[in-house]
Amino acid sequence: MLKTFFAEEHEIFRKSVREFVAKEIAPYTNEWEQAELFPREIFKRCGELGFLGARYPEELGGGGGDYWYSVVWGEELPRSGCAGVNMGLMVQSDMATPVINDLGTREQKEEFLVPAIRGDKIAALGVSEPGCGSDVASIRTTARKVGNEYVINGAKCWITNGTRADFITLAVRTGAEGYGGISLVLFPTDVKGFKVARKIKKLGNHSSDTAELSFEDCRIPARYLLGEENQGFYYIMMNFQGERLIAAVGAVSGAQRALDETIRYTQERTAFGRPILKFQVWRHQFAELATEIEAARWLTYRACDLYNQKQDAAKEITMAKLFAGELLNRVTDRCLQAHGGFGYSDEFHISRAWRDARLITIGGGTSEIMKEILSKRLGWG
């Protein structure tokens, strides 16, 4: 494929993920969407195959690979046509755990990261709350230090994998108001006082569980603090980089898939005596979308390249998340339109792709927040 970034071994990895997705995910997605959950064993299978820790160190059970392995993983998963499953797995591999790898002590890694890489423990990331999402600096869940423990009180909302996570990488307030008083802790969900308050019904991503969680005098050992106290806001922003980048990678791949499927459909479907694709409006529409997808792909690859080289990629990542996210919505919307009535039915993938896509400009930081970040970064915000 693209020799610039993907070497032979990445392509072999791609083959494994692609076959796994085709054989062990795609055939079951209707069932899991209905059940509003996918089986826990999927985490285990992905763990066995090394998918959940491609770029974590080998001594922790990871693959020791570079970021392009994660890119392959992020590109191949959307081929299942089911963003819910992808999101559950992505939270595990690229959202809730990177910060443990970056900051965790040996002990914390052994207890949380190693079983997460193996797929034995399910991970969640707990930042958003019922009262705040975009405004991370305003979180109100508190962790009071009492002796050798933190006592946690509060609530989290929209937590992916939340109904069954074994641990949560959790943002809490340990200090004063504002961004300077936030810390990250590792929170095992078998602690007394922790409750899944409700499972949230959603527009899309049905196979992924999204939960509201409540914490009442939950005591965890102080050694579960990640990094330094009151540095959490900074860590969360750092962690967001990887989360946003992999979201952009998935969005580009999902857009490509939607377009490819729609081209196939419009080649076969006829109206007024010819295939829909033979109408110039549609051919031109698809040419435009293909161009935009290509542009999004290269912006995203540029961000991946910088990120892989551990250079500052915040601007490029923010742009990629903004552009690819908005594009995925546009692509799925136009592709649904090209399907006509079937596009609105459950019989074609495109209706699910369309509703699942809606999340991408909201989760992991909204498009508006991306623009805020960019205008500041570019010096006029």
């Binding site: 032979e8 072999i12 990895f13 796994f20 054989k23 066995e48 090394g50 690979g65």
Partner: protein
């Protein structure tokens, strides 16, 4: 057991291919390992491991391919699945026929002295289905083609090979060394029994995926380069492609009003019942 497995890269069967005259237009082709060869690799791995004890290796699997340098990737993917080493014989597809391939593998067999040569029953591009048969002839070894099951027997001295034939399953006993070509069902969960892995062990259906660990380990495994000249194989192509034609376009069908009409048409017009 030491096993030599053949592997050919073929164009992705799902992709539309283009021809320049009688030769494949290689630009833009997505290459992949021939499915039946992938099954052969999987069978070889199942024969040489103890799946009841963490897939501990219990033999050697050497994968051989003839093709251009790029075939490295397909060979490396078999090493990532678990094969031990590979040999790449430099050649271009246009300058090969079944005869040259069989003679080349024969030379490699004489060098490597395996107990068994496993091949896919055919390559999905040319569908010639004759390399295994020719090879067995040249070696003077027993052969069993289209294997749907393999069981090691006589304390490792012979194989019981199941073959799906029209009337059912035929079982052949071949003494080693032997040549076996495999069919689709060889990757069924219990199709291969090696006498070491518990007989009750059930594999996941299909060839295994290369795990990330396998991929990383494969980076350190060797792919030895060879050539027809080095092996002393005459490179004269004797089977030439006379012409390549696309299958005729499908004609429009007809709608039938009733089952009776369908039966009547199948009987009188199509003459299939």
């Amino acid at each position: 057991m030491k096993i030599l497995v053949t592997a050919k890269r073929v164009p992705d069967p799902e992709q539309k291919v283009k021809f320049k005259g009688n030769t494949l237009d290689q630009s833009g082709v997505n290459w992949q390992l021939n499915q039946f060869d992938e099954y052969a690799v999987e069978s070889a791995l199942r024969l040489t491991e103890n799946a009841s004890s963490g897939n501990a290796r219990n033999g050697e699997v050497i994968v051989v391919s003839l093709g251009p340098k790029d075939v490295q990737q397909q060979l490396r993917s078999t090493l990532a699945m678990g094969a031990d080493r590979a040999i790449l014989v430099d050649a271009s597809d246009e300058n090969l026929d079944s005869e040259i391939v069989a003679r080349t593998v024969q030379k490699l067999v004489e060098q490597e002295r395996p107990d068994l040569v496993l091949l896919g029953k055919l390559a999905a591009d040319s569908e010639a289905n004759d390399v295994g048969q020719r090879l067995a002839g040249y070696l003077g070894w027993p052969q069993a083609t289209f294997a749907c099951s393999i069981e090691v027997t006589d304390g490792g001295k012979a194989l019981l090979v199941g073959r799906e034939v029209d009337a059912g399953v035929e079982t052949k006993k071949v003494t080693l060394p032997a040549v076996v070509t495999v069919d689709l069902r060889i990757v069924a969960p219990q199709a291969v029994k090696n006498g070491v892995t518990a007989a009750t062990h059930a594999y996941a259906d299909g060839p295994r995926y290369a795990s990330l660990k396998g991929i990383m380990a494969a980076k350190k495994k060797t792919i030895a380069d060879s050539s027809l000249a080095a092996l002393g194989v005459a490179a004269t192509v004797r089977a030439k492609v006379a012409s390549v034609d696309a299958p005729p376009a499908r004609k429009a069908g007809v709608k039938v009003a009733s089952v009776e009409e369908l039966v009547q048409k199948l009987h009188n017009e199509a003459k299939v019942i």
